[in-house]
């Protein structure tokens, strides 16, 4: 299937974060991970806060995607999301400190609303930390 590629378009308020061909996409949906290869059946998915993995010519890239919806049709995958960041766009130190902050606040007994908010913040920070420490992607993208 190497000759047939899948086009990935990730639209954010700041324009396309990604608009490129690739071999495979693995993304985090609300009901688990989902992989998409070229020639996939036309379908729609709801994305969760998570890492979007993009595999092209044997190299894996990672993207931090903050929810949204996706649609695959005729070898084009379109993802709409409020935020999609490449590793080099994430401040790794800030992501780590955000993660620690959220963990610290979760240890305290807070009301339900606060707890939900902190959990969401922690989920976001975890995704950012994972993506920002994905070194291979950064090196390959810069080449």
């Amino acid at each position: 299937m190497a000759d047939k590629k899948l086009r990935l378009k990730v639209a954010t308020p700041a324009g396309f974060a990604v608009d490129q061909d690739c071999d495979m996409i693995i993304m985090r949906c609300t009901d688990g991970d989902m992989g998409v290869l070229p020639g996939h059946q036309a379908s729609s998915v709801i994305l969760d806060h998570g890492v979007l993995r993009l595999i092209d010519d044997g190299v894996e890239y990672k993207l931090a995607v903050m929810g949204g919806v996706g649609e695959v049709e005729r070898d084009v995958m379109t993802i709409l999301t409020p935020s999609a960041l490449w590793p080099h766009e994430i401040d790794a130190a800030m992501a780590r400190s955000e993660k620690e902050d959220a963990e610290r606040r979760l240890e305290q007994k807070l009301d339900e609303h606060e707890e939900r908010r902190n959990k969401a913040l922690l989920a976001r920070a975890l995704v950012h930390v994972e993506v920002s420490t994905h070194v291979v992607a950064q090196v390959d993208r810069d080449v």
């Binding site: 378009k9 609300t30 059946q41 379908s43 998915v45 709801i46 049709e73 709409l80 935020s83």
Partner: protein, 313 residues
């Protein structure tokens, strides 16, 4: 005819005003360019969100969904986007008029206002303004400013990685759009309103922009046309729960940017003509000044001649 001194003072004051207006014109022009480029960037998200909603509406299960099914209209929500400042011709007035003319046909209106001018005008007319957001234009200014800073920094260093991502202002602006659309969805779902409209100014070109009223909720009937054989991984209702807020946020976000574009364009045009008018006034006053000076000189000569003839005689 006023004295030379008074005319001179008026010329100086008009000249100073002209300079200010010229500066405002130039500032508006720059900001317009920056925000316009952001409108282009937000277009794919808005377009694709609309497509997803259209596809969703074609599902068999969709017609009973709370976001799609039309209800009897008891209350109507409006999101009115105007500017925080004047000196931009009839921009703010047009948008208020557009909203008012629609409200005349509806009762029990709930308004969320963006921009102080629209909020104040609607309150003066006795309308029910639920909440208002007045720092949007400041963020818009910041966005325009940040954008120019980015291009300068990138040109100089070309290494700052954080700047290559979406700017802080952009994210903050989208957060506001999410907040506002969340409020609209809450109003709609709780049954306080049965229809949601967005009143904004549609940007066509620098010289052409028109106030627009768009119905966003309920999503309405599906378009005629062949349905796509789309497979939904999750439940269609759950899909609507996720896709509708995204669509609405994208709509509000691009409406904010378009309205800001129109405000800057309107300010640019009105300041441009104001600068021209000031130039004309200066020309006229200079003419009056010269005439006055000539009259003064003639009078002095007359007095000297008169005085000389008296001493001779």
């Amino acid at each position: 005819m006023p004295s030379k001194k008074i005319i001179k003072r008026r010329i100086t004051s008009v000249k100073a005003t002209k300079q200010i207006m010229k500066a405002m014109d130039m500032v508006a022009t720059t900001k317009l360019q920056k925000v316009k480029s952001r409108v282009e960037l937000a277009r794919p998200l808005f377009g694709a969100a609309g497509d997803i909603i259209e596809n969703l509406k074609r599902c068999d299960e969709a017609s009973d969904n709370v976001f799609v099914k039309p209800r009897e209209v008891k209350g109507t929500a409006y999101l009115v986007l105007s500017g925080d400042r004047g000196l931009c011709g009839s921009y703010n007035n047009n948008i208020v008029e557009k909203a008012m003319s629609h409200m005349r046909e509806r009762d029990n209106e709930q308004i969320i206002a963006i921009g102080t001018k629209g909020r104040d005008a609607l309150r003066r007319r006795g309308k029910n303004v639920l909440s208002s957001h007045t720092d949007i234009s400041q963020k818009m200014n910041y966005l325009a400013f940040m954008y120019s800073m980015e291009s300068i920094e990138n040109a100089v260093s070309n290494v700052d990685k954080i700047l290559s991502g979406p700017s802080v202002a952009e994210t903050a602006l989208y957060r506001d759009a999410e907040l506002v659309s969340g409020m609209l969805i809450d109003l709609f779902k709780s049954g306080k309103v049965d229809e949601v409209y967005i009143v904004y100014t549609h940007f066509e070109s620098v010289l052409s922009y028109r106030p627009t009223l768009a119905k966003v909720l309920p999503l309405g009937e599906k378009d005629a046309g062949p349905g796509k054989d789309m497979h939904y991984e999750q439940d269609v209702d759950e899909f609507f729960e996720h896709a509708t807020p995204l669509y609405l946020s994208a709509f509000v976000y691009s409406a904010m940017l378009e309205s800001a574009c129109c405000e800057f364009a309107a300010r640019m045009t009105s300041m441009n003509s104001a600068t021209k008018n000031a130039g004309e006034i200066i020309d006229k006053l200079t003419l009056v000044y010269n005439r006055r000076r000539q009259a003064d000189i003639t009078q002095e000569i007359n007095e000297i001649v008169g005085g000389a003839s008296v001493t001779k005689g």
